[in-house]
Each structure stands twice: as structure tokens, then as C-alpha cells.
Symmetry: C2
Subunit: 288 residues, 2 copies
């Protein structure tokens, strides 16, 4: 049995094949241009690399609710050409195999939950802080969705006294993504993320907002683990800063796991998504 | 078949009997004093009113995770005598019938979800804004719990510019409960809640914090409905104020149901909890 995975990002798509244990055997990276061009490359890949099922995690917003007429679509993205694109329908018409469809962050969350840093616990949250902020929630080893998928990057937090940075989110004067995602860090400092020194005064601010978000994730979902990934989290000094602020904000109100085990980097690095896709493909095959 | 329900609050316990459809046939109210005294009254009630199963919703924090050694306990409550009390164990030793154990707000959320205002939708959140703030989340018609139950009253929000009210939560300088629960409203105005005029300047502040909380519930859980109940929500003018602020904060970022159907009062009034308890008793019986 060979499984397939797609990690569909706004910048690039990764297509891969691999095994039931999430081990990747082959992968390619495709630039995200137009649906016509990019999807042709996806089709070609899985035509030359035939698989038994594919797990797909896509940038969004997407339709994840089977009762929704836009199920399987990328819906209202500002990315030219991709709005209202029937991604799942496109694949279904070409590959007559089980397909699992979810968000990019849910896919990565599932990978971390099944074989990554959260493999020993049933409830975890994977949050990426990169160009945007998104999160996937795993509850009792299953992906959590409501009426639609979560949009946790846009939770409202307390604007720090003295922080007059204009939110980089075009919708919200205050939200995690607008105040603390990669582009916000870039604008705050005038530097590319990787060029900002580890002791730059911007980091305590970013750590504070991420810590506030972790408090809200804790009181909302009571996870066993919060996994932080994405470009900004390459700044490893953020982890102890976030844990310290988190402890101060939660202030002992409820018991949480030891913080070094609770707020953690991804176990699979950049492979969370693809590994999750393979495992979701397997789940789709099992349920078919 | 006769079902039982307990709504165990910090001020009073309600015990009731009723039918599978959540209809109450008998009820009593017991003052919450010591466990010995209060539980004797509970035991007496269900001895004189024998039932086939009991659904229990308790004030907390409580142990809701069957893997937790404190499962079935009221854990760290400051309420004298009730900390570390094995509530479920007490009932189990006296009544050899199926019991369903959850939080008071989960019980009420379940009632509203099954036969109340949210009966036609699978995902809803019941939030009470009274002496404290608590919420129960229903996902796909089931009670959502993580490692433990939610503590959504303590989510962190943006402190309004100019609002220098000292948080009434002893743990958090900023949280929904500390800034906007009944006692906070009391301290802000120096008046008993029911004596505050509908056009008092406190209400736009309270509505703002509740609206922020509704935004965070939306991006976290994507529910079909958010139900607001509890003493403070007797101020019915809050509903339109909350909806308006919510719309401004969400700012069209994602689609939500029409707000008059989305942010709503409870359908069962003060019966949400007891109705939920009867329905949970039925669920326990079915699964026994
Ligand atoms: N070492 C770094 N330190 C801080 N920020 C970084 C670092 N590396 C990348 N970033 C920022 O992370 C963002 C990219 O995030 P990434 O997770 O790699 O991609 P995406 O979110 O687009 O999938 C950019 O805004 C970039 O500036
Ligand atoms: N009509 C009202 N307007 C505003 N606040 C009220 C009103 N009625 C009760 N409250 C407040 O609600 C709180 C009690 O909430 P309630 O839901 O009745 O009980 P509890 O949360 O203790 O179960 C008190 O702080 C009270 O001041
Ligand atoms: Zn935003
Ligand atoms: Zn608090």
C-alpha cells in the first residue's frame, strides 16, 4: 500500500507519497500559481506516483463541513484564482480513491498528534506563527471542527499598554495574527525575521501575545499540549519567554502539565503536514 | 421509566425527576451548606423518588476525565467543605443506577442543545454570566471536554481603553469573569444588578467584553449558536448591544449565522440545567 499527501500552501504545494507510519518515500514541491497550472502538476505527480488514498491539507478558508454546498472548496481567499475553487471536486474527478480533506493546520496537527510530539496524548493544539497564524485542534485523537474550521489566528487579546503598533490584519485592530505573525514582526522591526537578534526588544512583545493566546487555548480546549511551529518560532528563545508569561497570566488558576512539556516546538519540524496527510489518507482508506 | 437530575450550584442544589423528553415532573431546592448536610437531603430525595438514572451537573472545578484519579470529585473549590469531595463516589455508593457526571454548565448546554434553543443545530455554546462566568461547549451533539473541562470565564480579552476597573477575579488582572460577571457589575455601579437602569453607562462596557468573548468563542469553536444566560443577561438590552459590538469586532472576517439567531438567550430559561440532567440520565441509561 502506498499513501499520498498534499500540503497545499499559499506559496507552495508539497505532494508526497509514503507509508502508513507517516514515513515519506518521495516528495515534490510545486509553486502555487494559478489553480490550472498548479493542479496540473499535482495531477501529474499522482498519475506518475499512483497511491491508494490521499490526505489533503489546504490553505483557506475552506469548506470542511460535508453539509455545506462549498464542502471541498477553497472559499473566500484573496489569493487570485483560488477563491471558490473546488479543490476536492477536482481531485475526485481525476482519482477514484479515498480522499481526506481538511485545513493545512488540521493536517499538521493530526501528524503531530499521531506520530509527533503529541503522540502520547489525546488532546493537542498545533499553532503555526508564520506569514499568518492558524491552529488545528485535536480532541480525543480526532480533528475538531465546528460549523466550519477554527480561525484561532484572529482571537482577540489584550493590547499591551504602550504597544501602539498598527495591527497588520486588515480586519482586526487587535488580533494575534495582526500583532504577532511574521509580517507584523517584520514591520515592527523593519528587518527580515531571521535577521532580528535574539535579544531584540520585539521578542518580549511577541512572546506576550503568544502567551495570551496560549491562556485562551487552555481555558477553551484544555489540551494536553500546545505545539507552536512556523517561521517565527524559529526564534527558539521565544519558548521560555512564552512559558514564563503564560504562567504569570494563568496565575495558577488551573492545573496544567509542566510547561516544558505543555508549550512545545513541533516534533516533526517541517514534516508535520505531510506526515499528517499520509495518516489522514490511511484513515480515509480505513473508513472507505 | 423515571429519570433524575441534579443541578449542584454553589448556592443551591436542585434535584428533580422527569421524563426522557426533559419534562420535569417534580423538583426540590436544597441550600448548599456542608456536603454532609446537603448530600443527605439529596440522598433522601432520590430515596423517596426512586429513578432509573441520574444526570448530575456540578459547580467546580471538578474531575471530568475518567482517567483522572479525581474523576467524580469537586476538586479545588474555595467553598468550605466541598474541596476534594467525591460527589460521584458518594452517589455511586448509595444508588446502584447509571449516573452521568459533568459540570453545571455542560449540563445546561446539553439541555439547550437537545431540547432548547439549539435543538436544531449540532454545535452550540452555553455561557452563563452570573456570579461567575462559565461555559459548556456542545460539539456534534456531544459535550466537549479536553484534559479537563473548559474554563472559558477566564479568557483574556482586550481591556477597554479608559476602563480602569480593578478586576474582580482574584487570579487575573484581566478576564471575562473579573471584568464583566455580576459582582464586577455590582462593584462598577455600587448597585444590585437588578436595580441598575437599562441605560446605565456600565452596559456598553459589559456588552463589549461579552462581545469580545463571543468573537473568541467563534474563532475557537465555530459554533452554530452562542447561548447567553445567567443573572446579568436578565438585562435584555445587552443582546442587541453585544450583537452590534460582535459584528464590529469580527468585521466580516468570516461568515456567521444571522446574529439574531447566533447570539441568543436560553430557550429553557432556568430549566436548561435540570432538563440537561434528565437527558444525560437517559444517555447514561442507554450506554449502561
Ligand atoms: N528565523 C526567523 N525568525 C523570525 N521570523 C522568521 C524566521 N524565519 C521565518 N520567519 C518569518 O516567518 C514567516 C514565514 O513563515 P513560514 O511558517 O515559514 O511560512 P508560511 O506561514 O508562509 O507557511 C515570515 O513572515 C518570516 O519573516
Ligand atoms: N436583573 C439583573 N440585572 C443585572 N444583574 C443581575 C440581575 N439579576 C441578577 N443579576 C446578577 O447576576 C448574579 C447572579 O447570577 P445567577 O445566574 O442568578 O446566579 P449564579 O451565577 O450564582 O448561579 C448576581 O451577581 C446578580 O447581581
Ligand atoms: Zn485578524
Ligand atoms: Zn479570571
Amino acid at each position: 500500500m502506498l499513501l499520498g499527501a498534499i500540503e497545499a500552501g499559499g506559496t507552495k504545494f508539497v505532494c508526497a507519497t509514503g507509508a502508513e507510519n507517516g514515513q515519506v518515500s518521495d516528495r515534490i514541491s510545486i509553486l502555487t500559481t494559478t489553480p490550472a497550472e498548479t493542479m496540473t502538476a499535482v495531477d501529474d505527480y499522482f498519475t506518475t506516483h499512483p497511491v491508494d488514498a490521499i490526505g489533503i491539507g489546504s490553505f483557506g478558508p475552506i469548506g470542511v463541513n460535508p453539509d455545506d454546498p462549498k464542502y471541498g472548496y477553497i472559499t473566500t481567499t484573496p489569493k487570485p484564482g483560488w477563491g471558490d475553487f473546488d479543490f476536492l471536486g477536482h481531485l475526485k474527478s481525476r482519482f477514484n480513491i479515498p480522499l481526506y480533506w481538511t485545513t493545512d493546520v488540521n493536517e499538521a496537527a493530526y501528524g503531530e498528534s499521531m506520530i509527533g510530539i503529541a503522540k502520547d496524548v489525546p488532546n493537542s493544539i498545533y499553532m503555526t506563527i508564520g506569514t499568518g497564524v492558524g491552529a488545528g485542534v485535536i480532541s480525543q485523537n480526532h480533528i475538531f471542527n465546528g460549523r466550519t474550521h477554527t480561525e484561532l489566528g484572529h482571537m482577540r487579546l489584550n493590547r499591551l499598554p504602550g504597544d501602539d503598533f498598527k495591527s497588520n490584519c486588515s480586519y482586526h485592530d487587535i488580533c494575534l495574527e495582526g500583532l504577532a505573525a511574521g509580517p507584523a514582526v517584520g514591520k515592527r522591526t523593519g528587518k527580515a525575521g531571521k535577521d532580528i537578534p535574539v535579544d531584540d526588544p520585539v521578542w518580549p512583545i511577541i512572546a506576550d501575545y503568544i502567551a495570551q493566546a496560549c491562556v485562551n487555548l487552555t481555558v477553551a480546549f484544555a489540551p494536553d499540549k500546545i505545539i507552536l511551529n512556523g517561521g517565527v518560532m524559529n526564534q527558539r528563545q521565544l519558548f521560555p519567554m512564552i512559558r514564563e508569561k503564560f504562567a504569570a497570566y494563568l496565575n495558577g488558576y488551573e492545573e496544567v502539565p509542566p510547561l516544558d512539556d505543555y508549550i512545545v516546538p513541533a516534533g516533526l519540524g517541517n514534516n508535520s503536514g505531510i506526515a499528517g496527510g499520509l495518516l489522514l489518507a490511511q484513515a480515509a482508506l480505513k473508513n472507505a
